[in-house]
Subunit: 362 residues, 2 copies
């Protein structure tokens, strides 16, 4: 079992901004440590180690290959541009490394299949880096949604994630470049919307995705803002909106026959050590509709470790049980990632087809 | 000027449940009073007067005509089923009565045009009964949206209004009957969503409406749940979801380049004497995305009179200035109602055309 004395030893592939956050998370997790950082520039890797207070023994490598060749590395965290995921995750798996992969995981499900097959065939743990899944708030909200007396039957979901980028981002960020993160806002923020919808639907795949008119693209054809409706056979539906063009907004509303879940910070809680959600059951209006009765209730969940450290802890627990106890990988993470990618692919295809419905098949 | 000594004297056409709330609002307003109630049954009108504590002098009439013939009636409040609006509002106008009309105002814009023309040609005040428009919170939120330093440029809106009806409603309520309120959930709750979107867009009409797949109808073809996307030429867009099938939920989120407005009770505030909204400007994440900075702020607006009484007060002020000072009607209310109806019509047509885009033309 991975623990402080015998941690899962991470190698980080690339010095992306998000890698700073994950480095801290690895340091905070009780069963993981960073042992190597690789960049195309040795200098950059060295600076990353120094700037982020990584253990002095952390090895800087001047290439990603060198991290994979490092026998002390159990697992890699891969925050590279999406277009590089297939190449480097497959290589990591060939070197026997477990893989924590930044989202969006792949440019399309076929690419993701290559990634997942590489991990699966070697008995390696795969997980995507969707941090909010690991916050204790998420588990608590799940309990509410699963309780028929609180929530009833799921009917509708709406999710929004937007943030407003500056002119430099619109010109230069990898997320607006066709050769790097070709999925644009759909891949970067829409990923979370789609995941939240699948989460709320307990991972039941929708039948079809229909992108909303009003999609905004840059001159290179990269999505800057879009939305979609997802429909299921049983009549429930969901919609989402994701954008690089509106002020940071992060809404999730899940509606059942008897209950409503709402939160305004589902991806990153407003505060690190506590997170809230609002839940209402059997809501109605007072006599003469002069107010609501009952009122929605607010629930506060505190956490000692931030959600990203809890993610690392869970990943390291799974990787450690494989490394030290011969267990098999937890397939759940393969499945959840793949469903997210399938829906994302369908939304993208719907946009390309002029907002026609596209079946989600997996 | 209408005041306590010289109030606008209301006649109420029909004893619908909502008329109980509006009767109380008329009693609360400082410049209005109820003088007559008409029903197809005299007995029902008498009981309504007694049950709702209306002034003892209130006259009960056994027909709607009798209310219109009552010379002491300045204005009528019309909560009749939508299919009866043209007939009774035109008749009321022909009798020189100002008109406060329950929503949805008409089955289609052509019908609304007949209603509005009847009022306009006789110099009578027209207003639809969309109460939240009159809450001081609404004016306060408008100030925030108009402030470029708080909100920037409008980019996206999402609005949801749902409530979960019981089996009796699904069988018997007028809102599921083709001959009474044929617009179903779109007319009853979607009206508010569309109005909130138009309000947020400062009443700029969208270019087109595209209904969302996943619309649910009853066997008679009445909409029980639906949604739509609205698009504007400048790239902003909006979506809404309205339904009779989910727990009472009432969300409005308005996203600009610099700000986000959010509230969860836009149609009827949770509490009668105070109402809240959340606003965030230039939101971002802290270093390493460990939380948000700045945090959204919560704003609390108190009101002595409930929003429905403020609506009556404003309507009576306008009707009084016509009656007593020879002023002209406030055309604003014609315009806002008509735009709401135009969008509603386009959404309905889009549903009928299999979710094709329908231009909004007025």
């Amino acid at each position: 079992m991975a623990d402080k004395a015998n941690p899962i030893r991470f190698g980080i592939l690339g010095c992306a901004t998000i890698a700073r956050k994950v480095s801290r998370a690895i340091a905070l997790a009780p069963n993981a440590t960073v042992v190597a950082v690789g960049s195309r520039s040795l200098d950059k890797a060295q600076r990353f180690i120094a700037d982020n207070g990584l253990p002095p023994a952390t090895r800087a490598h001047g290439s990603y290959e060198a991290v994979l060749d490092d026998p002390a590395v159990d697992a890699v965290y891969v925050p590279l541009p999406t277009s590089l995921h297939v190449r480097w995750v497959v290589a990591a798996a060939e070197h026997g490394k477990h893989v924590l992969l930044e989202k969006p995981t792949a440019l399309c499900a076929a690419d993701l299949d290559r990634i997942q097959e590489a991990c699966r065939s070697r008995g390696l743990q795969f997980m995507d880096s969707t941090m909010w899944m690991h916050h204790p708030r998420t588990a608590q909200m799940r309990k509410f949604l699963l309780d028929p007396n609180r929530f009833g039957q799921l009917k509708a979901i709406h999710s929004s994630f937007t943030f407003c980028v500056d002119p430099d981002f619109l010109q230069n960020d990898i997320r607006v470049k066709p050769d790097l993160d070709a999925l644009g806002a759909l891949g970067d923020v829409g990923w979370y919307c789609i995941r939240s919808i699948l989460w709320a639907a307990d991972y039941e795949l929708p039948k079809a995705a229909i992108a909303h008119h009003g999609c905004v693209k840059n001159q290179a054809g990269i999505i800057l803002s879009c939305g979609a409706t997802l429909v299921w056979d049983d009549g429930k539906d969901a919609s989402f909106h994701c954008s690089f063009l509106s002020n940071l907004t992060n809404e999730l509303c899940v509606m059942g026959t008897r209950g409503t879940l709402h939160l305004s910070d589902f991806v990153i809680p407003l505060e690190e050590t506590l997170a809230k959600f609002r839940f209402a059951t059997d809501s109605g209006f007072k006599e003469l509709q002069t107010g609501w009765h009952p009122l929605p209730s607010e629930h506060v969940i505190s956490t000692d470790l931030p959600q990203e450290a809890l993610m690392i802890q869970e990943f390291a627990r799974l990787a450690g049980s494989i490394r030290d106890s011969g267990c098999k990988p937890d397939e759940k993470w393969h499945t959840i990632t793949r469903k997210t990618q399938l829906v994302l692919d369908a939304v993208k295809e719907s946009i390309e087809k002029g907002f026609e419905p596209v079946n989600v098949t997996g």
